[in-house]
């Protein structure tokens, strides 16, 4: 299954109003990798993720998933192999009950009723949300919504999982559960987030974006401890690395820019 690679070559994107959100982004993600995408507000992270499933199509450059280039004609195939979970689970849950919501994707893939059922069961089981099956989504807690949103995508058994700010709005334990959940998946994972500590826990490799371009791409541990790089890209050391009370290190104070 060496074809779950994601390759982005020289990607540029310009929104209709003229904002250039991506300026020549290139990288290649291999099968099974787990990659973090970080950068300040407006760096272009969400825009980049929207290209990976063909929600946006490149103005210039190329995106390939497996061996297939992402273009209008291949959207069907692409969307089957790339599953995307957006930041706000409310956007993702639009059916009257959790069960129907998770079944929505498989039904659209024209699976048999049994097939759909086993997909739904499996996906809900993976995120520990079987008991929520008949509940309406708008009555769920933040953490529950997040889990179900992931299940709606898992039920389509994608090869590649793309997540945009998955930990936003979760309380610390729910966030921790999410991290363990995600690190249990064997999918290729691409995670955009401001939560650098989660990226540190979840991803071996990180791509740092700044003003629509990739400014660094390499092992997470190295990049996220590089104070100069982080300061330049609107970031700072992950909190877990700052102010350690055990060793008393307080290395980040000097890296904080003036207000």
């Amino acid at each position: 299954m060496s074809h779950h690679i994601v390759e982005v070559k020289n990607l540029e994107y310009c929104y209709a109003d003229g904002t250039t959100a991506l300026r020549g982004v290139s990288f290649r993600i291999e099968h099974g990798e787990s990659v973090g995408v970080v950068g300040e507000n407006g760096a272009g992270k969400s825009t980049l993720l929207l290209h990976l499933n063909g929600c946006l199509l490149a103005t210039k450059g190329e995106v390939r998933v497996g061996d297939i280039p992402v273009m209008r004609e291949t959207l069907r195939q692409i969307r089957r192999s790339v599953g995307t979970v957006f930041q706000d689970p409310n956007d993702q849950l639009f059916m009257p009950t959790v069960g129907e919501d998770v079944a929505f994707g498989p039904l659209n893939m024209h699976l048999s009723p049994d097939g759909v059922e086993s997909r739904v069961h499996g996906a809900l089981d993976t995120v520990n949300a079987l008991h929520l099956r008949s509940r309406p989504p708008h009555r769920l807690s933040g953490g529950e919504k997040r889990a179900v949103a992931i299940a709606t995508v898992l039920s389509m058994s994608p090869d590649i999982l793309v997540l945009d700010e998955p930990s936003a709005g979760l309380d610390p334990q729910a966030r921790r559960r999410l991290i363990s959940l995600l690190s249990g998946f064997k999918h290729t994972k691409i995670v955009a987030s401001h939560d650098l500590d989660m990226i540190l826990d979840l991803c071996r490799r990180t791509i740092v974006m700044h003003q629509g371009a990739v400014v660094a791409d390499g092992p997470t541990a190295a990049l996220l401890s590089d104070r100069n790089l982080l300061a330049k890209s609107g970031l700072e050391l992950p909190l877990g690395v700052q102010n350690c009370p055990v060793c008393g290190a307080s290395p980040s104070a000097s890296a904080i820019p003036q207000i």
Partner: protein, 270 residues
């Protein structure tokens, strides 16, 4: 699915133009509003067979377009997008009204064709005038002008609130549709049942947002009454603009400018 984004970027285009600087932008919005209404009234007051006498009104548009620095292409695009109903109704006129009422050399022109062309010209004139008003003034400022002209404040507030939340709800809707389309790879339209719960969820979120916004308003001392929006300064330029435009409109409406001009040109060439 792109319809929402298109609608928002259409609003955006006019908003950006309205943020520009030009002699027209500087005029008091009340002046522009009044003149626009007078202009529209003039256009629709012509009788149905009139074509030539409508053309001098394009002078007004040309001047505003140029002084207000509004790109012609923006207006043209809107005209193309917005025409269906008017054209649909007009298209029957040539079929029904075949009475010959004008002779252009060898060409006999029926009343239906005259009124058809007349409707098209009216359409271009009225739509462009409204778009120009907006492009040189901006929605919010037009609302403030209406407020100063005595329109009930509740309605003005509704105008402003609607405008504010269109962006947020359109954004929510397009994110929802995006998530929806990702899970329906066939990409056919939304079925009724799914539409119901998609729109229903959107509505519930809108409703909850309404409650939250209300809370935020209360927290800032809102007592059900809206304070006046900031005022404008009416200057001599504004008076000149209103008087000049009105004089122009009266002259055009009663002056037979096009026919006179044509006669004169024909006499010259003869």
């Amino acid at each position: 699915m792109t319809r929402i984004d298109t609608a928002i970027s259409d609003i955006d285009v006019l908003d950006r133009l309205a943020a520009g600087v030009s002699p027209i932008h500087r005029l008091d919005p009340r002046a522009k509003l009044i003149v626009t209404v007078l202009f529209l009234l003039t256009v629709v007051s012509y009788r149905k067979y009139e074509v030539a006498e409508l053309t001098p009104l394009f002078l007004y548009l040309a001047v505003l377009l140029a002084l207000g620095r509004v790109p012609v292409l923006v207006i043209a695009r809107y005209l193309l997008l917005a025409c269906p109903f008017a054209v649909l109704v007009a298209v029957f006129n040539p079929l029904i009204d075949r009475q010959i009422i004008a002779q252009l050399g060898p060409l006999a022109v029926s009343g239906g064709w005259m009124s058809f062309v007349s409707i098209l010209i009216r359409f271009v004139l009225t739509v462009s005038a409204v778009l120009l008003l907006l492009a040189c003034t901006g929605y919010v400022t037009v609302c403030a002008a209406l407020d100063k002209l005595g329109v009930p404040r509740l309605l003005i507030m509704q105008f402003l609130m609607l405008y504010r939340f269109i962006f947020i709800l359109a954004d929510e809707a397009s994110r929802m549709l995006r998530a929806h389309s990702l899970r329906s790879p066939d990409g056919r339209g939304t079925s009724l049942r799914v539409w119901g719960s998609l729109a229903g969820n959107l509505l519930l979120r809108a409703y909850d947002r309404g409650v939250r916004v209300h809370t935020a308003m209360l927290a800032r001392g809102f007592d059900g009454k809206f304070r006046p929006l900031p005022g404008f300064h009416w200057s001599i330029a504004d008076s000149l603009f209103v008087v000049g435009s009105s004089a122009f409109l009266i002259l055009v409406r009663h002056g037979q400018l096009a026919t006179r001009m044509g006669r004169w040109a024909l006499e010259l060439s003869a």
